[in-house]
């Protein structure tokens, strides 16, 4: 019961996640050794697969872009006291908006398509989050339940649209025709000179910059405006919010729409940047990874960007691992990711207390 010692801020934000990450990788090494592969070689492949070449870095940052958008989406809802598990569906529907703009306006100038695609993605994703938000604000339906349900509804709706309405005629797979060239997000490979050449084969594109801009904008919104202040008051003490004249219901709706809009930007990277068409299940779990990213990044934009790069690296390095080591398959990579989430999120306090004791001992000497 004695009061827990406090960690210094830098250790809390920097050292603790690293210790957690190291622990997760250590356990992963044990599992890899059990499978009969060399853990040292596996780790080396994981790192070189994620960062070993410009192409690898490009892929890592490309995946990270998705996770930044969804991580920010989860974080903004969290600050309003809401747990948005529906980023997957909001990203899916948001992608529909982006895709429709690209299909409809792709023959016009890119600089016309880009703002329209961003707005449409955000609007579609925000609208998809608005319904559960409104249901919670007005009817008290719990947002965790409704957003999960809306993931399924989004999946069913998109399957229907892609199979029956948007499918490119004369083709088997349920996907649209390719976007016209003006609706393609400028890729890192298009950059002039050696930089462009280095990234030529990776899908990294302008969306990464947009994601970083979104992170910066979110920081300003949450911590430097009166609206962000009201959001955090509702998140931390709804009764005090009512006392201050802030309507929790209104904030719930606003926060969820912002959250859905951020998730809805996933299509910029995935569709405009890489696939250049709308296809079945393109978010492929990025909405759920966003929960882990937000958790690990402490719901702060800087932390989220770093955590997103880590998860991007695990994705990219993991796929390298499955190529090169026969006994390690896709599922093993998911196990490693799961261990990282478990260690950084759920077991964070496992390391906090010993680390704090260590600091206490050093301090008192």
């Amino acid at each position: 019961m004695s009061a827990p010692r406090k960690l210094p801020r830098w250790a809390d934000l920097g050292l603790l996640p690293l210790v957690s990450l190291a622990a997760a990788l250590l356990v992963s090494c044990g599992v890899i050794a059990l499978l009969g592969e060399s853990p040292v070689q596996a780790m080396r492949l994981l790192v070189s697969g994620a960062f070993g070449s410009p192409e690898a870095v490009g892929y890592t940052l490309y995946y990270a872009t998705n996770f930044i958008f969804t991580g920010l989406a989860v974080a903004v809802a969290y600050h309003a006291g809401l747990f948005n598990i529906g980023c997957e569906g909001q990203a899916y529907i948001g992608g529909l908006g982006t895709g429709l703009v690209c299909l409809g306006l792709g023959h016009l100038s890119f600089w016309l398509v880009l703002p329209a695609a961003v707005l449409a993605g955000a609007a579609f994703g925000g609208a998809w989050a608005l319904i559960p938000a409104w249901l919670q604000a007005r009817r008290g339906s719990h947002i965790v339940i409704t957003t999960i349900m809306f993931n399924f509804i989004a999946a069913a709706l998109m399957t229907y649209l892609l199979v029956n309405v948007l499918i490119n005629p004369g083709q088997q797979s349920p996907e649209t025709r390719e976007f016209a060239a003006h609706a393609w997000m400028p890729a890192a490979g298009d950059l002039p000179g050696r930089l462009g050449a280095a990234f030529a084969t990776s899908p990294l594109n302008l969306s990464f910059v947009l994601a970083l801009a979104a992170a910066a904008a979110l920081w300003v919104y949450v911590w430097r405006t009166r609206w962000g202040y009201e959001l955090r008051v509702v998140g931390q003490n709804p009764a005090a919010a009512v006392y201050a004249g802030i309507s929790p219901g209104r904030i719930t709706v606003v926060a969820m729409v912002v959250s859905g809009a951020l998730a809805g930007c996933l299509g910029l990277n995935e569709l405009m940047g890489s696939q250049h068409r709308i296809l079945i299940d393109f978010p492929s779990g990025a909405g759920f990874v966003g929960i882990a990213v937000a958790l690990m990044g402490r719901n702060h934009p800087v932390g989220i960007v770093l955590a997103a790069v880590l998860f991007g690296a695990l994705y990219q390095g993991g796929s390298q691992l499955t190529f090169d080591l026969p006994r390690i398959n896709r599922d093993m990579v998911v196990v490693i990711q799961g261990l990282v989430i478990l260690s950084c999120g759920a077991l964070e306090n496992l390391f906090r207390a010993p680390l704090a004791r260590l600091f206490g001992r050093v301090d008192s000497k």
Partner: protein, 513 residues
């Protein structure tokens, strides 16, 4: 008892010392509690009362010193060890499972065998016996959440007695009780004493110490500064020992000079969350330059009235006129009411008045976050917010004066000063204030009371709701008494006595002669 030797004290502490990091929470505490007595432990918030009691209950281990129970030295390394030594504790915040019955709560942890039914039957018999012995009647099969706070506390006492407690520690037991419930508690403690149990009462309320204890130990800054027989001391004497300097227990104020009506309430009706009418047709007028005190036993509609006036709860009927503007018909929310000059210091500070996880400066703009002074275009003006909070802290003597500290790093009194600073710095015409000194230490109470009187003298109106009669009598110029959601009487301060108010609070309407 018959061999003539003096009995050892029920509990004796010798040289208990405890540090938490840099904080020296307990300095060489020695005290002896006689068997079959009620012993008071008094001190301001942060004086170390709770720490020393947590050491006795095995939550903390002392760095030095020893504990003797009934004359035998004991090592209390856990609450289990303390219970085994016959020590029971009733915490300020009850440790009950809300959706269990009383009986289930009492046997929780001492189920007496793997089959619940047998243990429950034995426990029921034992509890009925305890109930007869001490007059502790509690409906054993009622779910705890349906009991009043006073009865829940009784369950906690039963729990301790059922576990064989000979020494009962009560930590701020009356903080959540109505005066009547507190009186019942004290009568119960008297019966426990008569049966040879030992009671330690931890409190910061002087009146309770004077009313029930045999001896009292005063703590200040982690050390025992006095131990006296209660009959040899006085509230003023104790207060000075607690604070370390002379304290004014009463506020000096001149006569009120009431001006125009600022707030007028007409036939107001308010329901609670479950739709039960709690305010039934209340009317009054509050004038500039006066303090109206609303006296009443807690739970008679004061909270609902205050919430309705502040705009937190929608009334079901009637009118609230703030300087002529109807606040009910226009459905004016708390933010708009602040703009019209109505400020509110809520009854429950931590639940409503502040955001515990925010810094002091972030709390200093709560409710005023959209004022032009705190914003520059779209962005919040960090420098202005910081400067505003520093100014508030300086004017209202908030310690430590660091706006960046988290709110929870401040004592209850300083938190309350922050809330009052925020509301008064907005220069309101009308201030609604509920329980302004709840959980606040004596030094800060004096300061807060002076601020409220100064506001009145500046020609503003104050509506004070308090369950502390002393506070009402000390501050109010006019006193309204509420009972059962109705105003049962109004007295000028000069005509009010504790006895008269007490009768009115009990719902006895006076026939005006």
């Amino acid at each position: 008892m018959s061999d003539g030797r003096p009995l050892p004290p029920a509990l004796e502490l010798r040289g208990i010392d405890k540090r938490f990091g840099a904080v020296h929470a307990n300095r060489a505490i020695s005290l002896a509690v006689a068997r079959g007595s009620i012993h008071g432990l008094i001190g301001e918030n942060g004086a170390g009362k709770s720490t020393v009691m947590n050491i006795v209950y095995g939550f903390h281990q002392a760095d030095a010193g020893e504990i003797l129970v009934q004359g035998r030295r004991v090592e209390l390394r856990s609450p289990q060890a303390a219970i085994a030594a016959g020590i029971g504790m009733v915490h300020q915040h009850f440790m009950l499972v809300d959706n269990f019955t009383v009986l289930e709560n009492v046997v929780l942890g001492v189920e007496d065998g793997p089959v619940l039914a047998g243990g429950l039957a034995r426990a029921r018999a034992a509890l009925e016996q305890l109930g007869r012995d001490y007059g502790l009647d509690v409906p054993l099969d009622t779910v705890v959440s349906e009991l009043s706070v006073g009865l829940q506390q009784r369950v906690e006492i039963l729990k301790a007695l059922h576990r064989g407690a000979e020494i009962l520690i009560l930590d701020e037991p009356t903080a959540v009780l109505t005066p009547q419930e507190a009186d019942q508690l004290f009568r119960m403690l008297g019966r426990l004493r008569a049966q040879g149990k030992t009671v330690i009462l931890v409190t910061h309320k002087l009146r309770e110490i004077m009313a029930v204890t045999d001896r009292v130990t005063v703590m200040r800054q982690g050390a025992v500064v006095a131990e006296v027989a209660t009959r040899d001391t006085s509230p003023r004497d104790l207060a000075e020992k607690m604070v370390g300097r002379a304290v004014l227990l009463t506020v000096e104020k001149g006569p009120a000079r009431p001006g125009e009506v600022l707030l007028e309430v007409k036939r107001l009706a308010v329901c609670d969350d479950r739709g039960v009418p709690r305010i039934k047709g209340v009317s009054f007028a509050l004038r500039a330059g006066e303090i109206i005190g609303l006296a009443g036993v807690a739970g008679n509609g004061q909270s609902e009235l205050l919430e309705a006036l502040a705009g937190i709860r929608a009334p079901s009927g009637g009118q609230i006129l703030l300087r002529g503007t109807d606040l009910v018909g226009g459905a004016v929310d708390p933010r708009a009411r602040r703009r019209l000059g109505l400020a509110h210091v809520p009854e429950d500070r931590l639940r409503r008045g502040v955001v515990a996880g925010f810094s002091a400066q972030a709390n200093s703009i709560l409710g005023y976050q959209d004022r032009a002074a705190y914003n520059r275009g779209l962005l919040a003006d960090q420098a202005a917010i910081l400067a505003g909070c520093e100014r508030q802290m300086a004017t209202y003597d908030v310690r430590p004066p660091n706006p960046r500290l988290r709110l929870t790093a401040f004592s209850g009194g300083n938190q309350q000063k922050l809330v009052i600073a925020r509301e008064l710095e907005a220069d309101p015409q009308v201030l609604l204030v509920g329980q302004p000194t709840r959980g606040v230490d004596i030094g800060a109470i004096e300061f807060i009371h002076r601020q409220l009187v100064a506001l009145r003298d500046a020609g503003k109106a104050v509506f004070l709701v308090s369950v502390e009669l002393d506070e009402i009598l000390g501050l109010a110029d006019r006193i309204l008494v509420i009972a059962g959601g109705e105003i049962v009487g109004e007295l000028a301060r000069a005509d009010a006595t504790e006895e008269r108010l007490g009768l009115m609070m009990a719902g006895v309407k006076e026939a005006h002669a």
